[in-house]
Amino acid sequence: MPADLRQHRIRISGGRVIDPANKVDAIQDIYVANGKIAALGSAPDGFTTDEEIDAGNQVVCPGLIDVCARLREPGQEHKTTIASESRAAASGGITTLCCPPDTSPVIDTPAVTEFIRLRAEAAGKARIVTLAALTQGLNGEQLSEMAALKKSGCVGVSNAMRPLLNPLVQRRALEYAATFDLTVFLYPNDHWLANNGCAHEGRVATRLGLPGIPEAAETAAVARDLALVEQTGVRAHFCRLTTGRAVQMVARAQYDGAPVTADVATPYLYLSEVDISDFDSQCHLLPPLRTVEDRQRLRDALQTGTLSAICSDHQPHEADAKLGPFPSTEPGISGLDSLLPMGLQLVNEQAIALPDLIHRLTAGPANILGLPYGTLSLGASADICIFDPEMPWQLTTASMQSRGHNTPFLGREFKGRVTHTLLDGNRVYSLS
């Protein structure tokens, strides 16, 4: 980063500053210098402003942190690239993205971590952190070199969506991760019970004749995972819970003091099994969309904090990936563009208070990932998202910044739009 930009001094004036980590919610100015937060409220002594951003009638909060976004690079650059998706993140107010290890090649050597770091730096629009593979090649057999991977910058370990069929391998992988104080990111899905299904095993899948994934595929996996977390003492994070029962199990474990956290992805807070009724492949997700009751319980758990992060679970695709009979299409939604707008809709529906929403998008995920970001504390990196909570706009293929246009929310009207994004004090996005 050029030194002159580092020296750049910015005053963000008149915005409603919400910094949940410091329990701040007030209209005040923010002063940025040398890429860091220099002051809140009144200017530090001798502060001269190089640039002023008028944030009147807008919300100023820490840059958002997305605990799961697939950027498709390396390996699937025909879908998207680190450059294209970093740009999309910046326009969505997201300053830190966490990339799971199921790239191609898999993130199981420091070389891949390094490659992603260099590409992210070249793009310069968002900070990208990585999870390392828990097992080599994600094959669920041999442990990866977790110590070396941690040294190369990985913030946690995960086997992504690939199964750990052997519980003994899982136990040892968790123990080994605990040795190096690495958080294990678990995707609770019992491979055998899921049985290659593509929809929630419920009334809609029954009517459509789609192979079902029962609720027990998630709850049985959570039960096994919790038993092994207790056995090994590892810190664990449950990725993408979808069922009310699994949430209840995690809440119970948290109450009992287990070192576990969990997140939810935006689509699961809005959609349900009902949305696949017309074989809409844009609603083909894994894990699958569950029942309307499950959706309500996810919303409740987000509000109480059992689920401490909302992520986009960004899975951008080329158009062809969704053009086929439902079971043959690739699962996933392109979610970076709609992460904050869909969160704000929860606020509009009074499902969550605005500061709590911001927490689940900043301090919550920062805590899960063990990162010093997601806050406007003095001296913290000046990662800042400024949005106009009232500005209406429409999600269209033209307004989407991600190169993946696969989303069932195309055409939806949103209220609330990001106007500026700062990363380390540099303006990486402004709404033109």
């Binding site: 029954t206 004749g209 789609l210 017309d278 074989f279 009979p325 439902f326």
Partner: protein, 329 residues
């Protein structure tokens, strides 16, 4: 796009035939009535009518089939259409061509109708959504979702044997409901035609989740399930169900759910026995029952031609209107 308006045009006419759900009772009755008029044709010495002369129909089968494909072919020929059979399992799919590419290529040959069978649920719906507006799509079976012409030929058979009042009928469907597109379509059709009671009978491993929401009573005991039944529809049991730990053996299945003369005594005295074929003799039913006086299994096959003629001609007829009104939705 909802399936309702995908199958039916703005005049309430059949546009595609993808699934029973999304249709209405009147339309089902129209199909049965039209099939009745064609049943006469198929019994004449000259078995052709010129309704679809000059039209090209492609039988696009991504899954092996003998009787469904054959009866569709015969139905198309008796309507004087040109028929092309394409077995994709052996051609494009093996070369890595996508389903959409295959369709676009065939569409470029100015085809008027696709009759499609595919292993994925929703395949026919997908094709109908993505095809040129002048092409009709008839679903000849998609995954475990739907097989609407089979259901209609079964309704046709029931109506011929039992008369038009379905309200007084108790119909029991026995076997692998879970994986059966036939059962799902039959259940929808029976309910649309106001059947008195629709039952499904199988061990729990072969009953899908929340099956009662399809509009059925669920039984796990054959004798209870067929008690006083007027119609019993036996489903084919695939051998691979043993491998998937759904059933212990064909032997035990036949013991518990196989239809024999003895067990038929629990049903109504004038019960009619049906099967979509092909039968596994000694697994779903005894030969004695399959070939016995209550069985209408071969009539079902014959009726398949008339019903498919009806559906094809009905789905093809509004195409002319659509051409005159290009902006009709």
């Amino acid at each position: 796009m909802s399936r309702d308006n995908l199958q039916i045009d703005s005049n309430g006419q059949l546009r595609h035939f993808l699934s029973i759900s999304g249709l209405n009772r009147q339309l089902l009755t129209d199909i049965l009535d039209t099939a009745e008029s064609f049943a006469g044709v198929t019994e004449q010495t000259v078995k052709k009518v010129p309704l679809l002369r000059g039209k090209t129909i492609v039988n696009l089968f991504f899954e092996a089939s003998t009787r469904t494909r054959t009866t569709f072919e015969l139905a198309a020929k008796r309507l004087s259409a040109d028929v092309l059979n394409i077995n994709i399992t052996q051609s494009s799919a093996a070369k890595g061509e996508t389903l959409l590419d295959t369709l676009r290529n065939l569409e470029a040959m100015h085809v008027d109708m696709f009759v499609v069978r595919h292993a994925d649920s929703g395949a026919a719906h997908f094709i109908a959504t993505n095809i040129a507006p002048h092409v009709s799509v008839i679903n000849a079976g998609d995954g475990s979702h739907s097989h609407p012409t089979q259901a209609m030929l079964d309704m046709f058979t029931i109506r011929r044997v039992k008369g038009p009042d379905f309200g007084r009928l108790r119909v029991a469907i026995v076997g692998d409901i879970m994986h059966s597109r036939v059962a799902r379509s039959q259940i929808h059709a029976l309910n649309l035609l106001n059947t008195g009671e629709v039952r499904i009978v199988a061990p729990k491993t072969l009953i899908p989740a929340h099956a009662e929401t399809l509009g059925t009573h669920v039984f796990h005991d054959l004798q209870e399930g067929i008690k006083d039944a007027d119609v019993i529809i036996m489903l084919r049991l695939q051998r691979e169900r043993m491998l998937g730990a759904l059933l212990p053996s064909e032997h035990e299945y036949f013991e518990l759910f196989g239809l024999t003369e003895d067990k038929l005594a629990f049903a109504s005295p004038d019960v009619t026995v049906m099967h979509p074929g092909p039968i596994n003799r000694g697994v779903e039913m005894d030969s004695e029952v399959a070939d016995g006086p209550r069985s209408v299994i071969l009539e079902q096959v014959t009726h398949g031609i008339a019903v498919r003629m009806a559906v094809m001609s009905m789905a093809m007829s509004p195409r002319e209107t659509a051409a005159e009104q290009p902006h009709a939705s």
